[in-house]
């Protein structure tokens, strides 16, 4: 190798090392924020529905604070190299996505779109070749939501809220129908999708338990009429 070439390669490699270190710093930040949010959201399982709004309000500022980290990342990653570096933050990002979809679900009972999450976390379209929210990461976040909702179905009953499991059940079934439309190859997303059926089964069991014992309003109302919902 001639010296000129050696110097050139060294230049490239030194730059990569520098970029990696800077990204790592930001990823640590993002990771901290993601953990904070998951920590707060974990309390959902022990919070009465009336007390939920303030809890969710305490997550929102953390979600918004991801803007800084994302824009820092956008300034560090060189153009067209998004896919080169994204693995470094994928895990933290998926957790952040989970937090965003969870907050939205508990607020509006709806699935926030990819674009919605992307806006919440502060991604900008012009950064698409440096930082972006790919469908795969979004879908991972949504699957985490289903995983957590199956717990919530159980825990809400424990807290005396018998309607929650029914709502969750309808929502999750539609999500499952959505996931079934995708042609997934044999990867992590596919494996996690395959495991969704256990979450659905768990939720259905809860719904079954509460309806059988006529604990939900709909089944209470039909108490007088012969049979009720269950026989249908």
């Amino acid at each position: 190798m001639d010296t000129e070439d050696i110097e050139k390669l060294n230049g490239f490699l030194d730059k990569d090392v520098e970029i990696r270190e800077k990204i790592k710093e930001q990823v640590n930040e993002l990771d901290k924020k993601a953990r904070t949010m998951v920590g707060i959201l974990n309390r959902v399982h022990s919070t009465q529905s009336e007390a939920l709004p303030p809890l969710l309000d305490s997550v929102r500022p953390v979600l918004l604070s991801c803007h800084d980290t994302i824009s820092q990342l956008a300034s560090i990653v060189p153009g067209n190299q998004f896919w080169r570096w994204k693995d470094m933050w994928t895990n933290s990002l998926r957790t952040a996505v989970f937090s965003a979809v969870m907050v939205e679900y508990l607020t509006k009972r709806d699935l926030v779109s990819l674009q919605g999450v992307s806006d919440t976390l502060g991604f900008k379209a012009e950064w698409a070749d440096r930082v972006a929210l790919p469908a795969e990461d979004y879908l991972h976040g949504v699957i985490s939501l289903v995983n957590d909702l199956s717990r919530l179905a159980v825990n809400s009953v424990t807290l005396g809220d018998f309607e929650e499991p029914v709502k969750i059940s309808i929502f999750v079934k539609d999500l499952f129908a959505g996931f079934s439309m995708l042609n997934l190859k044999n990867d992590v997303l596919r494996r996690r999708f395959d495991s969704l059926k256990y979450d659905i089964k768990k939720i259905e069991e809860v719904v079954y338990d509460v309806s059988l014992r006529k604990l939900t309003t709909s089944s209470k109302e039909s108490k007088g009429t012969a049979g009720g919902d269950i026989e249908k």
């Binding site: 190798m1 001639d2 070439d5 050696i6 050139k8 390669l9 490239f12 490699l13 990569d16 090392v17 067209n80 190299q81 998004f82 896919w83 080169r84 509006k108 009972r109 709806d110 699935l111 779109s113 990819l114 698409a128 070749d129 469908a135 795969e136 879908l139 309607e163 029914v166 709502k167 309808i170 929502f171 539609d174 999500l175 129908a177 959505g178 996931f179 439309m181 995708l182 042609n183 997934l184 190859k185 939900t216 309003t217 709909s218 109302e221």
Partner: protein, 272 residues
């Protein structure tokens, strides 16, 4: 009263519909690139065989002739890359790097071998990038340092074969083997510097060391035999040929032992 549903099922499903398109698009492109990469690997391997075959022909111009034919044949690979450039445009190269790299490294191995036969030097990063650019100099994609180094690392294995088979079948073989030995040694030293930066290079360095050792053994034979007696070249050739046949028995044993240990990566090992 039915439980109120807040979300709109059809909107939700429409989202997933767009994900399906996106995921299908990704998977299809990935498949196309895997296929192309396999074709490139195949073509490049053929070029390497071609280079060995012609370079071993026993005359003065065989190296240059081999290089010329090799470069011509590598144009086919370059044309494949030209056709792929839109699949690898923008940030796509990095997204599909894992699919592209194997073929690319094989191509660099073939190209650098042809370059060595022609010039006796290591091909530069710039030259490889230029070979992967359109006639007016626009790169089909940006070459990475890691593919460049890993491709070159495979070259040392080819040079080992080239040096050792040249010993017995080419009249300038002994002098060439000594040159190759020095060259591979220099390569190994240069690459060592990069091992912390390029994953996989360390493993390839181990193989380079093995190749180097084989060439060194051969170079040793040359020196020892020719110093003991003042022999005419034809007789020396005979002696070296005998030594080679003994040597290759031993080196096969070596190669087997290595496979038991580290396993894979023997694109460049194999019988000399």
């Amino acid at each position: 009263m039915p439980t109120p549903i807040q979300h709109d099922r059809s909107v939700l499903l429409a989202h997933f519909e767009s994900f399906r398109t996106e995921i299908d698009d990704y998977n299809d492109r990935r498949e196309r690139l895997i296929k192309a990469s396999r074709d490139i690997t195949n073509l490049s391997k053929k070029v390497i065989f071609l280079l060995h075959r012609i370079a071993l022909e026993n005359d003065d111009t065989s190296y240059a002739r081999a290089a010329k034919r090799g470069f011509a044949k590598l144009c086919e690979v370059q044309n494949i890359y030209a056709g792929l450039s839109h699949e690898l445009a923008g940030d796509r190269y990095w997204r599909y790097q894992r699919q592209v790299s194997p073929g690319l490294q094989e191509y660099i191995e073939a190209l650098s071998f042809a370059h060595y036969l022609q010039h006796g030097t290591l091909i530069s990063f710039q030259t490889v990038q230029r070979s992967l650019s359109s006639p007016d100099g626009v790169p089909y994609f940006s070459l990475t340092v890691s593919d460049y180094l890993l491709g070159l690392s495979d070259l040392t294995g080819e040079l080992m074969r080239f040096a050792i088979s040249g010993l017995s079948s080419h009249k300038g073989g002994r002098a060439k083997a000594t040159q190759v030995c020095a060259f591979v040694r220099a390569c190994k030293a240069d690459f060592e510097h990069y091992t912390p930066f390029v994953p996989d290079l360390r493993k390839k360095q181990a193989i380079t060391s093995q190749s180097l050792e084989k060439i060194e053994d051969a170079a040793y034979t040359i020196v020892v035999r020719s110093s003991e007696y003042d022999l005419p070249p034809e007789i020396l050739d005979d002696i070296v040929a005998q030594s080679i046949s003994r040597f290759s028995d031993r080196s096969q044993k070596h190669a087997r032992g290595f496979e038991d240990g580290l396993g894979e990566d023997d694109a460049q090992e194999g019988p000399c």
